[in-house]
């Protein structure tokens, strides 16, 4: 357990922790601007989180310890995947544990605990949200697992650090059809998992369409703050992984402090660019009907299978 590893792990957590609300603020701003509105200040998400932490927590009398534990499990599972994955450096603390399969299933812990949270308070909305979210998870999980295989075929390893390093050293891998197909599958899955448009609209509380918001309807105060924060962190984490897989240049592989600084700045720029694009994309999108979502996810699944096949053949 080296000093470098420990410090970079902490840095990764801090980086995602700070970037997550910021990126959300930027997205809101870009969206508002694209719709000719002024929009909230970029730091608004920070203020919202602080407000939620300060608020009184209400707890349903039907609920169990799951009600308090689920947000904690959600956020700590998010922190664990951040620690094991190469975000700003490939030389992080638990190098060997950064396996894509493990990451998929650690993220699943969070999804499961939040789905249980929805059912805990015995309300109709919670159940509705959990049911819909679980449906989407059950369809996006296969696509995610197959794209894990597709992304790993070229590097012959499911270890994320090895894959990212391989991509840095073999630029031709990045432009191979297999890689591009796999990344597009991964992007669709990220949209579904993070509950963004066109799968779910995080900005609405319309009862017939909401998915994620319905699950956490009973949460309030610090519980809600934790859930919201980890939701932003998960999205940011997934974007970090996507950007490191698609355009890994700039990620530190030399284990030197200067490179880590550069890597942080570059990654932040990349992320801001990506969320800007996503925000613009979302302004042109309407939310899909729930029963159209499977078609999208099945598409992602097929893309991932195609990616694997082309990875094997080429």
């Amino acid at each position: 357990m080296s000093l470098f590893g420990s410090v970079t792990s902490l840095l990764q957590i801090l980086f995602v922790l700070l970037m997550a609300p910021l990126l959300n603020g930027i997205m809101l701003k870009v969206k508002s601007r694209a719709e000719r509105r002024v929009g909230p200040p970029i730091l608004q998400t920070f203020y919202d989180l602080r407000k939620l932490f300060k608020k009184e927590t209400l707890r349903s009398n039907n609920s169990t310890f799951i009600f308090t534990l689920a947000p904690l499990i959600l956020i700590s599972s998010t922190v664990v995947v951040i620690v094991v994955s190469p975000i700003i450096t490939t030389g992080e603390l638990f190098n060997g544990s950064g396996d894509l399969f493990a990451i998929v299933f650690i993220l699943l812990i969070g999804s499961m605990s939040i789905a249980l949270l929805g059912l805990d308070a015995a309300t109709a909305f919670g159940g509705m949200g959990s049911s819909r979210a679980a449906t989407i998870t059950s369809l996006s999980e296969p696509a995610l697992l197959v794209s894990v295989i597709a992304l790993s075929v070229q590097a012959k390893s499911t270890n994320l650090s090895v894959i990212v390093l391989g991509n840095v050293h073999h630029v031709s891998w990045l432009l191979s059809p297999s890689h591009i197909l796999a990344i597009s599958a991964l992007l669709i899955v990220i949209f579904a998992e993070a509950g963004r448009l066109p799968v779910d609209n995080p900005a609405t509380h319309l009862e017939l369409t909401m998915i994620y918001e319905a699950m956490i309807l009973e949460s309030s105060g610090e519980n809600l703050a934790l859930v919201k924060l980890s939701e932003f962190m998960r999205f940011t984490f997934l974007l970090c992984i996507a950007s490191n897989l698609f355009f890994p240049f700039g990620i530190d592989s030399t284990k030197s402090w200067i490179f880590i600084g550069i890597s942080c700045i570059l990654l932040a720029i990349k992320l801001i660019f990506i969320v800007g694009l996503i925000a613009l994309f979302e302004t042109t999108q309407a939310k899909l009907r729930l029963f159209r979502v499977p078609e999208l996810l099945a598409g992602a699944f097929v893309l991932a299978i195609l990616a694997t096949i082309s990875g094997i053949v080429v």
Partner: protein, 666 residues
Amino acid sequence: MKLLLVSFSIGCLGALLSLVVSDRYRITVASLSIIAESILSAFASLNVIVDEKRYSFTATQVLPLFGIKLTFNSVNALFIFITSFLAVAIGIYQMGYGKHAVRAKISVFTFPIFITSMLLIPLAASVVTFMAAWELMAITSIILVLTDHKVNNKVGKATQWYSSMTHLGAALIFLGLVILVTATGHQQFSLIFANIGRVGTPEKCIAFFLIFLGFGSKAGIVPLHIWLPYAHPQAPSPMSAMMSGAMVNLGIYGIIRFDMMLLGRGANWWWIIVVAVGSITAIYGSLQCVLNSDLKQLLAYSTVDNVGLMVIGVGVSGLLISAGELKFASLVMMGVFFQLLAHSIFKGMLFLTAGAIQYNRNTLSIDMLGGLLKTLPTISICMLIGVGSISAIPPFSGFSSEFVLFEGLFQAVVHLSGINAVAILMGVTGFALAGGLTATAFIKTAGIALLGISRSPKNPPKTKIPFTMIAGTLMLAISCVFMGMFPNLILDILEKSTRTVFAKNLLNISGSFGSISITGMTSDIQVLILFCSSIIFILGIYGISKLFSLRKLRIVDSWGCGSNYSSLRTQYTATSFAGPLQKIFEDIVKPAHDIKSSHAEESKFYIKSVKYTYNFQDRIEMVIYDPIKRLILIWGKVTSNIQNGSVHRYIAFGFIGLLAVMVFLT
């Protein structure tokens, strides 16, 4: 070996003793004999695995003409270990459960014999011994399924399904083995293996598929799975835990022992078909599992799903063997063994929790349950652990096993090419789809049954759950967590069994304590450290959020959408939870809905009552088995015209038959 034989005799003695003692002590005697028997055989088998010993035993006097031949090595010791470990917990559980819930004397007597027969099957070293033990298991398990036939009218149908499928399977296995015996001229497995060259290719293929289907019917491959959702729910819970946790393993054992180890490296298309069947089984099983809302039936379908994963693993391993990639073949095989072990334990435990819930709430319909986490905390936490295991989330056993299996599949994708690689992708598809659906199915099970409030309008009288039931369940729950957190210890043991299957030392367990690391795998997941650090994160974040927040907490009613929160019927049920998935997969499962509304007399615009019925049946049963059943009935009608019971007619038939034979002979 002697220890094992002693343990068998303890089991049989206990069974006999349970017949003589008075009603009060019967279940205790039987359970204690099960516990003693299984502790002894668990030790014996663990000893054999760790020291890689090999014993054989022959008793010519026992069975006429052929005698009994047993061998004990580290492959079958693994299966014996799994069965006996599960049986220890189930024995403990049965002490409390059986006192009120198992009334039939004969079932109490049969259960130890059933367990003994399951311990005996892997040991068999000759065809006759094997078939004798197999039939013993079949018959005893049919008796166990029949236990509640006086109080439950579903038992009859379940037993019909089970007995016909199990005998069909036994017949297929027997045919397959007979082909091998006639071609080689030996009935001892080692001699068949030595003379396997004498079997021609077509015979080999036929034997391979007969054996695969025969054992597959016991394991529950689609479309032969049909008996599982009938038989497993009807047996009393300790017995269904044993059937789902240990008996299906023997199906996988048969496929590994005969198709892989006896028939040697075969053509790759054999294994491609096995992978395809496994993948269909996994997907179909998990789909039925997610849509079902009967607790035990759902678990039975999830057994089908897990069997599918294991069959995929066996198939991929076979493909790798026929391609000469022995190292990765053994990695996949180790994954299969791990999955087998993990599945036995978590599925056994889930059946035990289902039994406890039935004991307490008198229902198994998840639609009627709710809020169990408050009333049955220990059982519910065990169930949550089981749910975590089965959904393969760390740090539970299912994660470790599926991770090894997944790595094996990945290595197979990388190291094979052409049609083989495509076949493996089929397996990966099955694995992935089943994984997603299983997670949803068990979010549903745990979420609806354990959380919220009870969905049943009237609460049945609460019976206190005996301590032994909780202890048995808890023992399995702890081993789920243990296997997940210290996978290296389990892998060490499994590696020895794998080595014996391949007769070669191919893998190396290199990882540190509490990690999964095998040579040939690309990652080294430190489950233990990650788990500990996530506990630290949870505590830390909890502490920090307590520091920042106002520490104010108010207990209120759940939000009632603007009105007062009241009804327990506004909650989601298991059926409505699976609603979206049911709609998505409607073309495959085709459930039957029916809405009947009756109108008020004054005007048909006023609806008096609406009745919604929803019937959800296994589609394979309707598509494949119903026509077969109809054909059998037609055949029965046709033949009943000939046999109308008149003696004259039978004499005439006899006369004509005799005449025909004589004409034919001259």
